[in-house]
Amino acid sequence: MSDKKKNLPKNSELQPDLVQLQRRLFLRSGLSLGALSLLSGCNLQDGDQVDKVLWAMSRWNDRVQAMLFRPSHLAPTYPASMITKPFPFNAFYDADSAPEIDGDTYKLEVSGLVRDKRSWNLAQLRALPQASQITRHICIEGWSAIGQWSGVPFRTFLAHIGADTTAKYVGFKCADRYYSSIDMATALHPQTILALDFGQEPLPTEYGYPLKLRVPTKLGFKNPKHIAAIFVTNENPGGYWEDQGYNWFSGS
């Protein structure tokens, strides 16, 4: 298992890619497209048209995945002996830059299509029913790692805040400027949990203290860390990576 760790790209290695993203070099790759257009005889010079097709296909793939999603089908679980140690760190910044959050003053904001918009502190979240799971975290980069997360089943939390579960999306805003969103069917899945613990301990800083959404039916980047606010909505809130081109549904 430790060899996986070695294979992980360091943040410094990802940095050039991030710079590229910011320059909005989105789905285009001039050289490859040139090669492809020679091969196919099609005019692929207009990158914007190609981008439109790729975005449209990604939205189509969202719909297909929503259809494939089985609301009560559980992700495989594993024995504690199979937990990956050390568990890989991954974010759009270095582990050193993970936000330091004071658990005593922490508040989880709730808004949108919910009955009760009062915010929550950690003691209140710990007082709710808890569940634990040992599941495989699959990164969009291809690597995977098995970890244990415990916390409040998300559907229990949604029931407590009186969420309109006929709404389409649940959005998350995080303390590290990250944001993401999931479909309501996944939000109500029995293994989707608001994780407070990683292993037997409260979430360490780099794994999302104090609150992380654990969704074993989606790729790792759909598991936001350091959650500061949750909202229920019918407008797709997108996400940090999703808005740059990662497939929005990204179910596994």
């Binding site: 294979n7 992980l8 790209p9 890619d17 590229q20 993203l21 070099l25 989105f26 789905l27 285009r28 790759s29 050289l31 490859s32 497209l33 492809l36 091969l39 196919s40 097709v53 790729l54 975005w55 296909m57 990604s58 189509w60 793939n61 995945q65 494939l68 999603f69 089985r70 089908h73 992700a75 495989p76 495989r136 699959i138 990164c139 969009i140 980069e141 291809g142 690597w143 995977s144 074993p216 039916t217 990576w241 740059q244 081109g245 990662y246 497939n247 179910g251 596994s252």
Partner: protein
């Protein structure tokens, strides 16, 4: 050369229109899938190397995945049309069968000694084996790819491969097999360039030693 309006008795159709169309769509889809797949591989290499950037498609991981998961529909839809045609129209039975070990041994020996003559419209035993194997690799690459894409929703399929991590390795190996096929396929086109035009026009000069079946002429 014969024109479409005036069929010439000296030429015949060796590649039906449907086969030609799916062949070139497949070629485009395979190039998209392999190049974008290599870019995805580079994000977290399974083995001790990565693919050169110029050989990848998509620019960054998000772009590569967008290409891969768009082109997969083209690859699979086109592949299903071909396989459906192959079975229903008797294309597989007529061209890939029979495949006898004795013929295979003989043709493999001749091929290695560069003594195996190319007969337009007739596949020798080595070619038959290669086409059958690459079709099976196609099934394998799609099944393992689906297991990587949907290891939870299609966990039954993923467990056939021993789970997500093994499915990644199977997907890589199936890709490598297909790329090896393409390399040999292209090398043979270079050695026997007269095979290229018939895949565009469908037509080949009538070979004196071959007799053409009525089915082939109609196709």
């Amino acid at each position: 050369m014969a024109t479409a309006d005036q069929p010439d008795s000296r030429v015949r159709i060796i590649h039906p229109l449907l086969v030609r169309v799916v062949h070139w769509i497949n070629a485009f889809a395979i190039v998209c899938m392999v190049m974008s797949g290599w870019a995805i591989y580079n994000a977290s290499p399974l083995f001790g190397f990565d693919f050169p950037r110029w050989a990848t498609l998509g620019g960054w991981l998000g772009g590569a995945i967008a290409w891969h998961l768009a082109a997969m529909w083209l690859l699979v839809a086109n592949g299903l049309i071909y396989v459906g045609y192959g079975f229903l129209a008797g294309h597989f039975r007529r061209h890939f069968l029979p495949l006898r070990p004795r013929d295979l041994l003989r043709d493999a020996k001749d091929a290695l000694a560069f003594r195996l003559a190319h007969q337009p419209g007739i596949y020798n035993a080595v070619q038959r084996l290669m086409y059958i194997v690459v079709l099976l690799l196609g099934v394998l690459v799609v099944a393992s790819g689906l297991s990587i894409w949907k290891p939870v929703q299609l966990d039954g399929l993923a467990s056939l491969f021993g789970g997500y991590d093994t499915a990644r390795r199977v997907h890589f190996i199936a890709m490598a097999g297909i790329v090896a096929f393409v390399a040999v396929h292209l090398a043979l086109v270079l050695i026997v360039p007269s095979t290229l035009l018939p895949m565009l026009t469908g037509r080949a000069p009538r070979h004196s030693r071959n007799k053409t079946s009525k089915q082939e002429q109609q196709a």
